[in-house]
């Protein structure tokens, strides 16, 4: 069982949205010309991911998943048999689009300064693959609690932020280098992203949460014993 910290750190580094799954590449390439705009978009992505993934988690677990509707009437088997998961795409994208709209209005009303910084990026985010991707990964990996799902969404957002700010910084500097003319702009950005991806892959071998491990060992063994007990009881 992965700990929440594992999920969080993994989402930032070894399962980075950009470098491992290429999610949100369109806006990543389009808005990474200067660090300032990159920070704005990155912050907006963190924010929206952090809001939409937990909402979609609740939707998935209390509405869409097979047996998720059993809370309506625990005694009635027809509710428990219901499987609405084929609707998940349309539900998720509706949630994302409406939350983006809502967030935009709320930010405009209550934090005008933040709106000035994020404003133009928020509508872009509704069609950013990383937001819907976050929801779909959450569904596929079946996180056991909403805390894990939130940790995953926050980690993914931070990972995306790091990636776009890093590439924007490199692109600002690369203007002073002699890049071959046909590679300038898009071509070199692709290759740089590839190289950064290789660098990020070195995080894959890390065992996360090493310090906590010893403390957890005892709890783990006890939980295993508990499981054994229940099995023998059966």
């Amino acid at each position: 069982m992965e700990s929440t910290l594992d999920i969080f750190v993994k989402a930032i580094f070894s399962e980075n949205m950009i470098f491992a799954y290429f999610l949100g590449m369109c806006s990543y390439l389009a808005v990474s010309k200067t660090v300032k705009t990159a920070v704005g978009l990155g912050a907006a992505v963190i924010f929206v991911l952090l809001v939409t993934v937990p909402v979609n988690y609740l939707l998935e677990n209390y509405l869409l998943k097979e047996g998720a509707l059993s809370w309506v009437d625990p005694n009635n088997a027809t509710w428990a048999e219901m499987d609405l998961s084929f609707l998940s795409f349309i539900m998720f994208i509706a949630v994302v689009a409406s939350i983006v709209q809502l967030v935009e209005m709320l930010v405009e009303k209550f934090a005008p300064a933040l709106y000035g910084a994020l404003g133009i990026f928020l509508p872009l985010i509704a069609v950013n693959c990383s937001i819907l991707g976050g929801a779909l990964f959450m569904q596929e990996r079946q996180y056991t609690s909403i805390v894990d799902a939130t940790a995953f969404s926050l980690g993914s957002g931070i990972g995306w932020f790091i990636a776009i700010v890093a590439i924007a910084a490199i692109r600002e500097k690369i203007r002073y280098s002699q890049v071959p003319a046909p590679l300038r702009g898009l071509g070199i950005t692709f290759i740089l992203t590839g190289l950064m991806g290789i660098a990020f892959m070195s995080f894959m071998g890390i065992k996360y949460g090493g310090e906590k491990e010893e403390a957890e060992d005892t709890t783990q063994t006890s939980s295993i014993e508990l499981v054994d007990d229940t099995q023998t009881n059966k």
Binding site: F19, A20, Y21, F22, L23, G24, M25, C26, L29, A30, F86, L87, S88, F89, I90, F92, I93, A94, A97, P123, A126, V127, N128, C129, S130, I131, L132, G133, L136, F137, E140, I174, R175, P180, A181, P182, L183, R184, G185, L186, G187, I188, T189, F190, I191, T193, G194, L195, M196, G197, I198, M201
Partner: protein, 229 residues
């Protein structure tokens, strides 16, 4: 009066006029959705480890894009411009649900490998981009041609990247072994003389680098596309 004018004007443009053919051929090279417009990269790179996945993905995108472009084009006068993004998303999402169910039923193994990326066709920027830029302002037939052109432009890049990655990364094409077998103990073909697969090609970053090289080659051939910085 205007009706008469339209009626006489309509047959002037044949189905495969030069303009309409250009709609298909342009996105293949000089206006390619991936290498020039930089749209739809999100899902394009992750599923190019095997040619089969890339072809299935391309066909799915072709299906969604053609039907979606026609649907949006038919509805273009009915959609209020304020909520057009939501309408477009609903159209794409419904089509993607159909694709997902079909893949799950007929190609379950490929469907499993593609995992979330079928769902991510919804936010594929090419599709939204074509809806917004073309189908909202054009009649169904040109929209159909435009959709075919852009989907094919997307498809050929995907397949080229997949051919390189599968051939060099796993030594196979469409699952068929090209360089011989590398089973330990029973090597034959190139593997017998010491050839090894480049496992690097299977990793995600190589897809980016291959696309970077394709862009490079394209811009050497067409100098007009080169950027200042």
């Amino acid at each position: 009066m205007s009706e008469v004018a339209e009626k006489t004007k309509a047959p002037k443009e044949p189905l495969f006029s030069k303009k309409n053919r250009k709609l298909v051929t342009d996105p293949l090279t000089d206006n390619n959705p991936i290498t020039i417009q930089v749209l739809g990269i999100c899902s394009a790179l992750a599923i190019t480890v095997q040619v089969k996945q890339a072809v299935v993905m391309s066909l799915s995108v072709l299906f969604v894009m053609v039907l979606g472009n026609i649907a949006i084009s038919l509805m273009r006068t009915l959609i209020p411009s304020r909520i057009r993004i939501i309408v477009q998303l609903v159209v794409v999402a419904s089509l993607v649900i159909i694709v997902n169910e079909l893949l799950g039923a007929f190609l379950p193994d490929v469907s499993e490998q593609l995992s979330v990326f079928v769902g991510l066709i919804i936010t594929n920027c090419i599709i939204m981009g074509r809806f917004e830029a073309f189908a909202m302002a054009n009649k169904p037939w040109p929209s159909f041609m435009d959709a075919v052109g852009n989907a094919m432009g997307y498809a050929w890049i995907l397949v080229v990247v997949a051919v390189f990655r599968e051939l060099l990364g796993s030594g196979t094409l469409w699952g068929i072994q090209i360089f011989g077998s590398n089973l330990p103990g029973e090597e034959w073909g190139l593997y017998k003389v010491g050839y090894m697969n480049n496992n690097m090609m299977i990793l995600p970053p190589m897809a980016l680098i291959i696309v970077g090289v394709i862009i490079w080659i394209q811009r050497i051939r067409n100098k007009e596309l080169q950027e200042e910085h």
